[in-house]
């Protein structure tokens, strides 16, 4: 990858990738792996960008699709596993962000299904229901209903922790 492309087209949007990758990973090592994979896939797909949507939307889309189909590396050996919702796993990057509130929110988000994680991240990033529906491949009514349900789950989880 040309470092110019990374500096000019990816780095200014790194916060999008970071926010999404953090929701699908449980350690710094995994996070860096996911981040690099997303960057790689953005670079590989750059020629298909047809400017029908904004570059940032494009980055959201690729980041989500990559995170949904990513293979995690096991710590021992070279075997790969898929990322799952891992309620039983110890989440060892609970201090990934400076803000305790964000860490608490991420901890709750990680207990959601992979699709729900994608939906709530897009919602929190102030994407409209139509935009979320288009990115996920659903319709805005269903997205609205699902968001309410997800918010309920998140609130319940956060209140339990408080």
């Amino acid at each position: 990858m040309g470092s110019d492309f990374y500096q000019l087209s990816i780095l200014p949007f790194a916060s999008i990738i970071i926010k999404i990758c953090r929701a699908y990973t449980n350690s710094q090592e995994d996070f860096e792996d996911y981040y690099q994979e997303v960057c790689l896939q953005i670079w590989r797909s750059k020629d298909n960008f047809n400017q029908q949507c904004e570059w940032s939307t494009w980055i959201y889309r690729i980041s989500l699709n990559v995170c949904l189909t990513y293979l995690k590396r096991r710590k021992s050996g070279d075997k790969q596993i898929v990322s799952d919702a891992l309620p039983e796993e110890v989440i060892d990057d609970s201090k990934a962000f400076v803000s305790d509130e964000i860490n608490q929110l991420y901890s709750a988000i990680k207990h959601l299904s992979e699709t729900d994680r994608a939906i709530i991240l897009l919602y929190l990033e102030e994407k409209s229901y139509d935009e979320i529906a288009e990115m996920i491949g659903s319709n805005s009514n269903n997205i609205g209903v699902r968001i309410n349900r997800i918010k309920g789950k998140l609130n319940k989880f956060i209140n339990q922790k408080d």
């Binding site: 970071i18 790689l40 896939q41 189909t69 962000f97 964000i102 992979e114 996920i136 997205i143 699902r146």
Partner: protein, 213 residues
């Protein structure tokens, strides 16, 4: 909890210092960890391994005095190379820029059609491979000696293709069993390697389909 999750998100990220991108290391040479890319890499590697396997078989079998068996195995492996090439080509049409649903569905269709293409051929490959090995065993010096011992122990006047009928019957039964379980064998192998990924994919599809209802 007093704040809404929207406020937590907005306020929390205002002064967030940990939104700095991690260091990128040799990204261009990075081996992809994505399922699609991983399978593409596997198919590509498979093609190379099959071509190499063909050549090794041909040379090795010729050296041990069974050039026809080498040629026969090469002929059996050739369609696998063609299938792998065809499937690899198909996979390049998958783009990651579609909606998540379309992307997952396209990936799933490609995966299913690939598995189908491979399992169709393995149903033929495994029994034919067994038959080839069996024939080579029968015509070899050691095989001839073993069959002579067998005929001595279990004499029979009924010969098929110059061999005792029961040997042919046993070989035919084994071939049928191999043919019957060839697909299951291939799928078992696939499940051991990719079982978790397939499960994850199924769960994702179920969830996304529910969202579309």
């Amino acid at each position: 909890m007093t704040k809404s999750i929207e406020t937590m998100w907005k306020e929390g990220f205002v002064n967030e210092a940990h939104l700095t991108a991690p260091k990128i290391n040799d990204l261009y040479n990075r081996k992809s960890q994505n399922i699609v890319d991983k399978l593409q890499n596997m198919f590509a590697l498979n093609i190379k391994a099959l071509i190499l396997g063909c050549l090794i078989m041909l040379v090795m079998m010729s050296l041990i005095g069974a050039p026809f068996l080498g040629l026969y195995i090469c002929c059996l492996l050739l369609p696998l190379i063609i299938i792998a090439k065809k499937e690899l080509k198909k996979s390049f049409n998958l783009s990651k820029e579609q909606s998540s649903y379309d992307y997952i569905m396209n990936f799933n269709s490609w995966l299913k059609s690939s598995i189908k293409a491979y399992s169709r051929y393995y149903k033929f490959f495994y029994p034919m491979f067994f038959i080839g090995m069996a024939i080579q065993g029968i015509v070899s010096k050691a095989g001839e000696n073993l069959i002579a011992l067998l005929v001595e122990a279990v004499p029979t006047g009924i010969m098929i293709l110059g061999q005792p009928y029961y040997l042919i019957v046993v070989l035919a039964i084994i071939t049928l069993i191999v043919a019957k379980y060839a697909e299951a064998l291939y799928r078992l192998d696939l499940n051991i390697v990719y079982g978790r990924q397939f499960k994850k994919l199924d769960e994702l599809i179920t969830d996304m389909e529910e969202l579309r209802k």
